[in-house]
């Protein structure tokens, strides 16, 4: 039996510490991990719990992130609760196995302290790693602050392990901005937290010798498509279960999350769609602009995968101009958030104006002032009746203005 860990009603934790506490409270059976900045403290804190008897499970420190996720897959197939943490290059090294985990329908929880991908090397937060995982078949939840990182981690176990879901789940937080910023957190007691997460329910476990199972069979052209379609369906259908579990968590904590969060959107004319800690920056900007008479609002996908096509469309249907903020170098395309939000809005009657900002790469600061400027640019589009700037722009970049593509709607 694990030792009792004393926690107070209000704690001052950073995102990493909050996540490691959530892992402890969920009584994870196996953590197979490899350290990388800025997610390392999650694993170190866990090591502290192991060293002091607060954890009953196995802590396997492997020799690479690829092995970390490989160990998680082997452990999860053996029937039990499994989690790990990573960032950036480590995430990239894991990618092969991320697809294997989701294809095998193993509800592993991966907590990611988002960080830029090299080259050039950078340890600061952007969303390159999060975006790299977007086609991997995982559910991706996004925390905008440290308390949400704790909340999302507990919810991740419930969602992934739900018998109608059985998919791996990533919990994202911004590297350093969230992972290393301490704030007041109101954790659940150990009993409440475990009561919410519940006992792990085995499905097709390798350690049930009454029913030997084969994991990882090959499927060629006669079968692969059907299996991938079934997996996609499960991911799409997880939307309603995520809603239910968020609602249940809200009843328990008073903190009710939605797949798409909306702030000041009731009568908004202009909006910013963003992910991560920038959501809070944009909220402050919107509040200040409201005081100045600008009807600004913020929409933030809490759930990046499955992409909330339905809820995004609903949240933005009455807005006239929208800026989609992508914190990842798009590599020769429009930003992913821009593309996906635009696609959702294309199926509405209104088809509002949408522009794209690439910002904050490698941890470049994103200020309230800049968010306000972006809002005001949207306002200018509304006043002009068309997009007055390039559709894709770089925000916060030194040197001559960088932008691409003009509107054809003026």
């Amino acid at each position: 039996m694990a030792e009792k860990y004393e926690i107070k009603e209000t704690e001052v934790w950073d995102g990493n510490y909050a996540i490691s506490q959530a892992l402890r409270q969920a009584q994870v059976d196996v953590v197979a991990a490899y350290p990388i900045t800025p997610s390392t403290p999650i694993v170190e804190n866990y090591g502290n719990y192991v060293a002091n008897g607060y954890i009953d499970g196995e802590f396997v420190m492997v020799e690479s992130e690829h092995a970390a996720m490989s160990g998680c897959v082997g452990a999860a197939a053996a029937g039990g609760r499994v989690a790990t943490a990573t960032s950036s290059q480590g995430f990239a090294l894991m990618v092969e196995v991320l697809y294997q985990a989701s294809g095998m329908r193993l509800p592993i929880v991966l907590t990611v302290a988002n960080r830029a991908l090299a080259s050039p090397l950078n340890v600061r937060g952007d969303h390159s790693d999060m975006y790299l995982g977007r086609d991997s078949g995982w559910i991706q939840l996004d925390a905008f602050n440290a308390e949400e990182a704790y909340d999302m981690t507990l919810c991740a176990f419930r969602i992934g392990e739900h018998l109608n879901v059985r998919l791996p789940v990533m919990v994202h937080q911004d590297g350093f901005l969230t992972s290393h910023t301490a704030q007041n957190i109101h954790p659940l007691s150990d009993e409440e937290a475990y009561g919410f997460v519940g006992d792990y329910k085995c499905v097709d476990e390798m350690l049930d010798f009454t029913r030997p199972v084969t994991y990882g069979a090959q499927t060629e052209e006669d079968w692969h498509f059907e299996h991938k379609a079934k997996q996609h369906k499960a991911l799409m259908d997880s939307r309603t279960i995520i809603d239910e579990i968020f609602a249940e968590y809200g009843n328990l904590t008073g903190r009710t999350y939605k797949r798409v969060e909306s702030y000041l959107m009731e009568d908004a004319e202009v909006a910013i769609v963003a992910l991560g800690s920038s959501v809070e920056t944009c909220r402050l900007a919107a509040e200040e602009l409201r005081a100045e008479g600008v009807k600004a609002g913020v929409v933030a996908p809490r759930c990046f995968r499955p992409f909330p096509f339905d809820a995004v469309r609903e949240a933005l249907k009455d807005v006239k101009a929208i800026a989609c903020l992508d914190r990842s170098s798009p590599g020769g395309a429009m930003g992913a958030l821009f593309n996906e939000v635009s696609a959702a809005l294309y199926s509405t009657q209104a088809r509002p104006m949408v522009t794209n900002f690439i910002y904050g790469l490698g941890g470049r600061d994103f200020s309230v002032k800049e968010a306000k400027r972006i809002f005001m640019e949207q306002k200018a589009h509304v006043d002009a009746g068309h997009i007055t700037t390039p559709i894709q722009q770089f925000s916060g970049l030194r040197g001559p203005k960088l932008g691409f593509f003009e509107t054809k709607r003026s």
Binding site: D56, G74, A75, A77, A78, Y215, A217
Partner: protein, 317 residues
């Protein structure tokens, strides 16, 4: 009846197969001889992981499995880590009391070809050995990437031709020495490491049982004659393996706790390696006059290695 000792083949043959037919391995493939023997030499429950390779692509092609035990394949490189994870989960669940049958004996086994063991999965294997998981890793060493059509691996011996180290007018085939995986694994301080061969079925079964019965990470390199890429008639798999062990190209020995070396088979009549080489298409070019020196140097290497093994065995250190 528990399978504890195997006195003779008649007794062994009363064990029931847990590796099923209608897998897709080539006719005459030694892989399945080795896998069958591993699975037949114990009646414990088995959890098996397998790296990508001939064995994996031939035994779990949907909608079929040839495995009567729990089995997992993830990638080319990570069977050792997959089994580490499963073993860790077993320990955690045993402690927490969440296993369906906590008293059921279970052994953890990983299979890999030489490509995945010597090359792409080397780091994953090393990590798992260092961490000390209770498992047995068995390398099915056919000295090339047979699954993808016969490319060189770091297990391919000097002089063999492969598609990526070809013999030709300017080449006698592979020039680099075969990696000594057995020594490398022994250097990890593993409690049991061995090199075994399916023609010597008894020492192989005994070695498998020793590894399965030893707590901690054990490694066994098995010679797996490859009819397709070594180029011999499928019926001759055991004959070729006899030549391999009797020429001492594949000496059979074990290393306990990283140092205590025991030779498990001493051929009564050691045959010249030339006989072994001549029986396989992959070495045919070596018999041209200009490549004769390669055969001589292969023989020299074998003699030196055998001398070294004998001296180490005598030293008892």
């Amino acid at each position: 009846m528990a399978i504890t000792s195997i006195k003779n083949l008649k007794e062994f043959s009363t064990n029931n197969d847990r590796f099923e037919g209608a897998h897709l391995l080539c006719p005459g493939c030694a892989h399945s001889m080795i896998v069958r023997e591993l699975m037949n030499c114990t009646d414990d429950n088995l959890v098996i992981s397998t790296n990508t390779g001939c064995l994996e692509v031939s035994t779990a092609v949907y909608p079929y499995t040839s495995w009567d035990t729990s089995w997992i394949h993830i990638g080319f490189e990570n069977a050792a880590t997959a089994i580490s994870g499963a073993e860790a989960m077993y320990k955690a669940r045993k402690r927490k009391g969440t296993l369906k049958d906590p008293n059921a004996p279970v052994k953890f086994v990983a299979f890999g070809g030489d490509g995945s063991t010597y090359d792409i999965g080397f780091q994953w294997l090393s990590g798992a050995m260092e961490r000390g998981h209770d498992f047995t890793y068995i390398c099915l060493d056919n000295e090339n990437y047979a699954n993808t059509g016969g490319q060189r691996s770091s297990s391919t011996p000097v002089g063999a031709t492969t598609t990526t180290a070809q013999a030709g007018s300017h080449s006698y085939g592979k020039k680099e020495k075969k990696k000594d995986i057995v020594s490398i694994m022994a250097a990890h301080g593993a409690p049991y490491v061995a090199q075994l061969a399916p023609n010597k079925w008894k020492s192989m079964a005994q070695g498998f049982q020793k590894a399965l019965g030893t707590e901690g990470p054990c490694f066994i390199n098995t010679v797996s004659a490859c009819t397709t890429e070594w180029r011999f008639d499928p019926k001759d798999t055991i004959h070729i393996t006899d030549l391999a062990t009797d020429s001492l190209m594949f000496p059979i020995y074990e290393i306990i706790e990283g140092h205590e070396l025991n030779i498990l088979y001493r051929p009564k009549n050691v045959i010249p390696v030339e006989e072994y080489l001549a029986a396989q298409g992959r070495y045919r070019h070596l018999f041209k006059p200009e490549h004769k020196h390669v055969i001589e140097s292969i023989q020299k290497e074998i003699d030196q290695k055998w001398e070294m093994l004998q001296r180490r065995e005598e030293a008892r250190i």
